[in-house]
């Protein structure tokens, strides 16, 4: 019998409570083909960014993603600082790296919990999220917010991490390290977990290259890429750490890479805290008066992979063009390879294994006039419009 059934995952589905639709074309339990639709949630961030001043753009891009909310400001800061060609102080570098790595820890803990939940292992879900809480509390102590920390600005950071706060951070890190041991034990010692994840959703090195996948998804298939090392920024060249890779390319390898990366993040933060003690307190930013004409590329390693920001400046106080590419955008494409041929049970955990983040991926907009509700521009027209602007700028140069 070759009749195919369409098993929809999304737009409303308990697997990922986010706006996406995966169409699994199944014969029996085996997925024969997969198609997906994203674009349920267009927000027009890139267009909005052109209307805001550089300082405001930080708050905007921070809200692209609720989980990795510092990776976008990180990449944006990198790109604008490339335009100005400014070197920020060491203290600011350390603080940036601390924020980035704390975020990686809480994002990976979140993923481990979700992966457990998707496998029906709700105990891991609740435990991982319980131990994520102290990290969020730490953010509240440092930045005043559990999410959307508003720590970054052009030329440095907004808030200092004073000496008095360092012991509290170290305490939480020690706790997280202990609990990571526990989670690693729960994941690697459980034979049922092995049976569910080993050999599932395998991506080879060639697949990663062909789909241009990034982040832990690529590193789990033995592709040794990490923006923190390949295109050094912030304090990453100043501390000792290594890129975690695994060869297998299956869901288990992805879990392994993420769990081991948490140890690296803890080590990076500890070294950055030592670095902070050496630097003068309060020396956290360089005053920037004017942003010259030009363009800058900023990259940052988000918990899910490479975040790419491209900013064109026309010398005014807001970006003339701002292009963002989030890691999930490329990682989602690997489903075409990793899900086909699997059973539905395996396909669902494979879908979750790249830790897709739809709010990062979907940023285009249908602009609607607030007064009369009429549509001003759709996604296509906005792209055309932005292409025109870019062309105009390039021709002027």
């Amino acid at each position: 019998m070759s009749k195919q059934t369409l098993i929809p995952i999304g737009p409303y589905h308990p697997l990922q409570e986010e706006p996406e639709l995966f169409k699994l074309y199944c014969e029996g339990e085996i997925v024969k083909d997969i198609k997906w639709e994203t674009g349920y949630n267009h927000r027009g961030i890139e267009k909005l960014s052109e209307k805001k001043s550089y300082d405001e753009v930080f708050f905007l891009v921070e809200r692209i993603c609720g989980i990795c909310s510092t990776s976008h400001p990180f990449a944006f800061a990198n790109s604008v600082e490339e335009i100005i060609n400014v070197e920020i102080t060491n203290r600011a570098k350390y603080i940036r790296s601390i924020i980035g790595e704390l975020e990686r820890i809480h994002s990976h803990l979140l993923w481990v919990g979700l992966a457990g939940h998707f496998l029906g292992y709700n105990t891991v879900f609740m435990w991982a999220w319980k131990y994520r809480e102290p990290v969020l509390d730490l953010f509240e102590m440092i930045a005043g917010n559990r999410n959307n920390y508003a720590m970054f600005k052009i030329g440095g950071v907004r808030r200092d991490i004073e000496k008095a706060k360092i012991p509290a951070i170290q305490e939480v890190l020690a706790l997280v390290k202990k609990k990571t041991d526990l989670l690693v034990g729960a994941v690697t010692d459980d034979p049922v977990f092995h049976a569910r994840t080993k050999g599932v959703g395998v991506l080879t090195r060639e697949d990663i290259v062909n789909f241009a996948a990034v982040g832990p998804t690529a590193r789990a298939s033995g592709v040794d890429i990490d923006i923190r090392r390949d295109d050094p920024y912030a304090a990453y060249p100043l501390v000792n750490w290594k890129v975690i890779t695994s060869e297998a390319g299956d869901v288990f390898a992805k879990a392994e890479v993420r769990l081991l990366e948490m140890y690296e993040s803890i080590s990076i933060i500890e070294q950055c805290l030592e670095g902070l003690k050496r630097e003068k307190e309060g020396d956290i930013d360089v005053k920037v008066k004017h942003i010259p004409e030009g363009y800058g590329i900023g990259r940052a390693e988000a918990p899910r992979g490479e975040v790419f920001h491209f900013v064109v400046s026309d010398g005014s106080n807001s970006p003339a063009r701002h292009k963002i590419r989030a890691p999930s955008y490329t990682n989602i494409a690997t489903f075409k390879k990793s899900c086909v041929g699997q059973s539905i049970s395996d396909a669902t955990i494979t879908l979750a294994a790249v830790d897709p983040c739809y709010c990062c991926t979907e940023r285009l907009a249908v602009a609607i006039d607030r007064n009369n509700g009429q549509r001003i521009m759709n996604a296509k027209e906005i792209i055309e419009h932005s292409t025109q602007i870019t062309n105009r700028l390039l021709n002027n140069e």
Binding site: L6, G116, G120, Y121, W127, D190, V192, A195, R196, S345
Partner: protein, 310 residues
């Protein structure tokens, strides 16, 4: 006639099994919550859930489904669970039915709820329900043989008796079957069968919320879903009660023995709860392999040991 109606409707049948089952499901949820650092629901939560579904929530019928079968399936599920409950609980409460051979009937009656779930799911016309139903069918086929082997072991241990009342009496005169080596093996196998029959993790793939959105029950809402919940509550009581009857000496409802009865029941439910909280869900293929090879092997070893009187 009145006595039988009383047995069927109130004690120890429908009402009694449902109420005790609801409390046991609260116990399961509370323990789960405590394991996961949550507070857990209040004592009466299963009743709130049930009455909200029964009285408040609207019933939505699938437009393309076979509505008659879809609505009849939950009723039969409750009916099957009640019948199985009566046959299991009467001997357990020391009331003999005088029916020799009820073990076979119980075996068939315990299959009815699962089968009606499959029929209800297939009549709903939902693709996710169809996937769930096919998984449930595969699951039934894999654990039923094992469950039958457990019963065979019990029959051999009790000296060729297929009367549940007699099996309990034999254990009372001698020692409970779980006290022997083969009894322990049969208990382990039976617990895994229960886990699959109750569709708890690691064998909850027919429902599998994060894969197929509760699969077989996806189209159920309102009163029919309340019926399904009711049958689940009842199974949550009568299946552990069945284990207690065939392996753990049954229960006595007098004096200090009431406490023992409650402890035995809670111990079995606690075991089920802990298994479901320390394992991820397995795939249907793995479940079939697990029951066909390992559990059947274990059950056969237990039977061989039982033949030699161990």
């Amino acid at each position: 006639m009145e006595t039988y109606l009383f047995y069927f409707l109130i004690y120890p049948g429908f009402l009694f099994a449902a109420v005790i089952g609801a409390f046991l499901s609260w116990f399961d949820r509370k323990i789960t919550a405590r394991v996961q650092f949550r507070k857990g629901p209040p004592l009466l939560q299963p009743f709130y859930d049930f009455f909200k579904l029964l009285l408040v929530k609207e019933t939505i019928l699938p437009a393309r489904g076979a509505k008659g079968v879809f609505l009849a399936a939950p009723v039969f599920a409750v009916f099957g669970a009640t019948m199985a409950g009566v046959f299991i609980l009467l001997p357990l409460m020391n009331i003999t039915t005088g029916f020799h051979g009820d073990l076979i009937v119980i075996f068939y009656l315990l299959t009815i709820p699962s089968l009606t779930y499959v029929i209800g799911a297939l009549s709903s016309g939902n693709p996710l329900a169809a996937v769930g139903a096919s998984r449930e069918m595969k699951l039934i086929m894999s654990y039923e043989l094992t469950f039958l082997l457990v019963m065979a072991g019990i029959i051999i241990k009790s000296g060729q008796s297929i009367d549940l009342y007699q099996i309990i009496q034999i254990q009372r005169e001698g020692s409970p079957f779980i006290g022997s080596f083969s009894g322990v093996l049969l208990f382990i196998v039976a617990i895994f069968c229960l886990q699959a029959k109750l569709a708890l993790v690691p064998f909850d793939m027919p429902e599998a919320e994060t894969e197929i959105c509760d699969g077989i029950f996806i189209e159920y809402s309102g009163t029919p879903y309340a019926m399904i919940r009711l049958s689940k509550y009842m199974l949550f009581f009568i299946l552990p009660a069945f284990i207690i009857a065939i392996l753990m000496n049954g229960i006595k409802l007098e004096g200090i023995h009431i406490l023992w009865a409650i402890l035995k029941l809670l111990a079995v439910v606690l075991l089920l709860t802990l298994i479901r909280n320390t394992n991820p869900r397995v795939k249907i293929k793995q479940a079939i392999r697990f029951f066909f090879t390992w559990m059947n092997l274990l059950a056969i070893i237990a039977i061989v040991l039982a033949i030699f009187g161990l």
